[in-house]
Amino acid sequence: MIESVVIFSSLTLILGLILGYAAIRFKIKGNPLVDQIDAILPQTQCGQCDFPGCRPYAEALAKGEAQINQCPPGGQEGVDALAELLDLEVLTLNEEHGETKPDHVVYVDEKLCIGCTLCIQACPVDAFVGASKVMTTVIQDECTGCDLCIPVCPVDCIYVREITPTLSTFVPNIPGEVRV
């Protein structure tokens, strides 16, 4: 009787110590859910969700401080994916935050640009190249199409350019399915 009590209490103690050590040693830093949510978000960094970027929105979602239907660039597909990940009810995209626009980038009409650098400061992904009083331009590959630079431009020289499929990026239709 005594023996078994001793054996099991010492076992409990040893295993408890191991578990306790493992909990400290292998502690996951930060909230892994934020990373998972951030992976679904489109990384447009447009701020239409009322948060200053995709990661802050992901953090708010993880804390339950935001709704899943606040991201227009992600579209309904994004809302569905978030609902599945967070095990929430599927909502329709909240139109107050804007509507889903087709894939696009912006470009600068270089003849009109006055070099005010306001767009450079507005861009969340540093996709602008320029300096004070010189012509500014957009690195097309790095533009996310957040449109944050358009309202700040004092001479309205930033335009939207839709991304059209080329021969190498063309995706054919599934038979019998008409895509918009």
Partner: protein, 502 residues
Amino acid sequence: MSNNTFSGGVVIANPYPVNQVEIVQAPLPSKVVLPLQQRIGAEAKPCVSVGDRVLTGQIIAKTEDQFCVPIHASISGTVTAIDKQIIPHKSGLKSNCISIESDGQDEWIETQGCGHDFLHCDRQTMIDYVQRSGIVGLGGAGFPSHTKLSKATDCHTLIINGTECEPGVMCDDALMQHHPREVVRGVEILLHITGAKKAIIAIEDDKQEAYQSLLMFSHNDRISLVQLPTKYTSGAEKLLIKALLNIEIPSGGFAADKGVLCQNVSSTKAIYDAVIDQRPLVSRIVTITGDALTPINAEVRLGTSFEQVIGLTKVNSQAHDYRMGGMMMGVDVETTQVPICKITNCIFVNNKKPVQATKECIRCNSCNTVCPIGLLPQQLYWHAKGKNIDKCMDYHLLDCIECACCSYVCPSHIDLVSYFSFAKALSKKQETDQHKTDIARERFEFREYRLERNKQERAKMMAEKKQALKEKMAKDKQADSAQKDKIAQAMARVKKTKEDNA
């Protein structure tokens, strides 16, 4: 397994056979349109401008990309436009092209090749000739030949693909019947370039005339002719290697890894022209067939419109469907105002037929049996339909050669292969989108970090300035009090002197 074959595939006889396979020499076109985007690699940049006069064989566009070949003018004349035109592609999209109006003279640019005594030329020189002459795989895939040749550094067997397994296509058959000498010489050149010990010319056993004519010219011990049973997809590179040498090329691997090099028979003839005369690839043999006309083979200049080529034969006056490439792997084209490209081996002109209604999949397993790669098209179909790309990848979607055997045998007339090409394109798109999102995330996070760092640096700078100012003020105060002391001492001294005097 029986001799020289592989499992799966379908046996289809030529639907529009001819008695005698002839080659018609097409008249010079009045205008050619040459696309700048090729099957693989970046778009070529024009090196001529509108209004320039160009000679036949002159390079009019090139790229820095090592995978690409330059683009040559296929007639002599004047460049009339560099703009977007419809090209024969399943998307029906427009792509940048150079248009040349013929002057009717067909004046060639002067070229100097290795000559018939090519044995003294080294490997790299000859590969350069192949690249400069714009030679790509003429069987339909359009893979640049020079890339294949430079990769084949340790090659033991050369396979010349003359199987032409697509039912209805006869252009390689015609080439082998009418240019056997050039083909055999081309094989000898390839043997010299690759250093392979032996070469096998593979021909399907329904092309007896081609076999006989090649046999007449094949005097080289290192070159053997092999007949394969007529079965569709025997021309696919990996399957051909399996059938001939019983070597399996693993998924994602290349034939070159196993010491084998495959070249199409038309490409071999083009390589002959390139190395001996450095004659660029400006024309090719095209089969024009279908139930709306009398089938012919024609040697046409690249960039000639389909309309002009179809006009070489008698066509009935009904409404037609047009298709580029074979009846299995080809692509439907909307209009005949598209140019002949290097990969255009065949044009099908068929009377318009009602589209067969698609029914539900009944899981009959026919597609699984015919798939020459040994994939499970039925499973792939479900996952592609559900856009579940990860699952498709688990079922090795990328190994699908889109041969359309599965679509051909499907009793429910499901166009399985278009689901697979859709899934492949979607997977590629998702990959590029993912890459773009990753970059955006990284840049956003770096910007946040940069702004934070700037803020901290500024705060630190301000604090340092404040500290310095404080120290200076303290010092000033000290100096001030020292001065005051001195004045007080002086005053005391004066006072003392005054008192002493008094």
